[in-house]
Symmetry: C2
Subunit: 157 residues, 2 copies
């Protein structure tokens, strides 16, 4: 019989996680804080949810997307998009037509009213982003840009 070793592993020294230095946790805090700050700006004022705003933002850039394409570009799932669109169309902020030659697809565009909202919200969002970036110096800003670019899952780029 081979030399008996002692139950070598002293019960894994509980090594607790230090949340405040744990990257995923930090990301989550920073992200939620920032998103909430922005949302507070328009949520109440325009009765517009975060998901709805995201949908509007992509429709501002791309004409005639289908719901699936919106989902891709917002990294939201199709159910969330479907619901956001239902509200946006209902509120007259998005026009929805049916695709010629494929009756399953919708063809989406911001309406006049949608553009009017967009043109108010977009600058507010940008202003908040600027506030966030002001906490960093120029060098840190450019590193952050580079780093996030690397960390973004490819399908969201």
């Amino acid at each position: 019989m081979p030399a008996k070793r002692q139950p070598v592993r002293p019960p894994a020294e509980h090594a607790p996680l230090e949340l405040e230095r744990f990257l995923p946790y930090q990301l989550s805090i920073v992200s939620n804080t920032v998103s909430q700050a922005i949302a507070d700006d328009y949520q109440r004022r325009f009765d517009l949810g975060v998901t709805e705003w995201r949908v509007m933002a992509v429709l501002a850039r791309f004409d005639g997307l289908s719901a699936r394409e919106v989902a891709e570009r917002t990294a939201m799932d199709k159910v969330a998009v479907s619901r956001a669109l239902a509200r946006l169309v209902e509120a007259g902020r998005v026009d929805r037509a049916t695709h010629d030659g494929d009756k399953r697809r919708s063809v989406l565009n911001l309406s006049e009213a949608g553009w009017a909202i967009h043109d108010q919200v977009a600058p507010m969002a940008r202003a908040r982003e600027r506030e966030l970036l002001e906490k960093l110096d120029a060098e840190e800003q450019s590193w952050l840009e580079r780093i996030l670019d690397k960390l973004m899952p490819p399908e969201s780029r």
Copy 2:
């Protein structure tokens, strides 16, 4: 393969937001992707939610906290903490006593069973963090650390 759609609006007119280069959006995507990946590891296996895991993580570091103190250290609100604790106590993963001299406060600790779970989950979480960091070189890693530290709201540090 359909041709990629190009932006069609003259930015001068409506200045649409480019989500994929919008910092708060990027943060949200990266954060959700990472958190989800970690949660997938333990969620099903231990029937443990993200909020519950966070509570366990702080109780692993600090003995006898009150619910309010847990809330502070997890950046969760007290309702979320209350609910997480209800499940954890019910599952026998956390022991809850009443504070001597202040009957409003609870005194919380991980139970044996709680520690057993903690000791399995913590290494998994760390491994995922490592995977994330591996996408960055050493220099980027240290910048990220520095940057997040600056962006964290002070009360979460």
